[in-house]
Amino acid sequence: MKFLKSFGQFWYDFIIGDDWKIAVAVVLALVALFAVMKADVLGDTALTLFGGVAVVVAFAISLAIDVRPRRR
């Protein structure tokens, strides 16, 4: 059990690191791209550009969460 916990902790540290929001942002951007691709309304060029913009927007939101004023 201890080994499994350490193993899980290692992979969490490795992939998620000290900011889980980045990993979530990347996953959400790719899920959005997946959904648009499945809707079959855009060609490859538009899809790739949409994917790039989605990653940027998700990253900007995660940064905004980081720097938001904290309530006392």
Partner: protein
Amino acid sequence: MDAATWGLIIATFVACFVEMVEATTIVMAMGYTRSWKSALVGTLAALGALAVVTVFAGYALANWLPESALQLAIGGLLLIFGLQWLRKAILRSSGRKAVHDEAAIYKEEVAAAKAAGQSTGSIDMFSFMVSFKGVFLEGMEVVFIVITFGLNADNIPGASAGALAAVVVVLIVAIVLRRPLSMINENLLKYGVGLLLASFGTYWAVEGIGIFRGDRESLDWPGHDLAILGLLVAWLVLSRIFVAVLKTPAAPAVQENVAVEVEK
């Protein structure tokens, strides 16, 4: 050698250099305060484990996965690593995060080493485990970067040469100086590597989503590989905009309400 090979070697050299500086700080702290023998055994064990992981992961990735799945998995990981480094660089440049300081990290590691109880066996398990974990964790990122850049450029030896050169340079500098490598502008290096990883990561992860299409073919960026250059410029410009927008005002009354992180 052509320009692409030099670019590959330089990219893996810089990425590996940054990780090696961090790992070396940890090992030096353990060696000087507790046991050089245990710290070095831990380092060698981690390097051995990394070699095994590299061989297996490289073989599995190159032979078992369809190209688009490989792009999605590797691109996703590179994107996460790259954006994490970029986030830190942006927050540091805008004054919202403490600047990475190897000397401060060294002091923290030394304090932790002194606080831990003395070991009775021939191997000091504290030094061994801290060194092993430090080298293995930092090394895993290098392994992924070397494998992915190497596979994409179809030049694993070139990517490995860049990483190996960084290991040698950092080790020589550490042995000559015999102190933490705090004079290196690691923040600037990390910013550069973050931009590279974010650009390649965006390119591959978006391409790899094609694995979920009926034909499992990768999406095609306009301009193909040239799009990576466009992404690099886009991430550079965006990061500078983020820094300018997030720059903290000097007034302390305002700073009190702003989230400022302090970390290693």
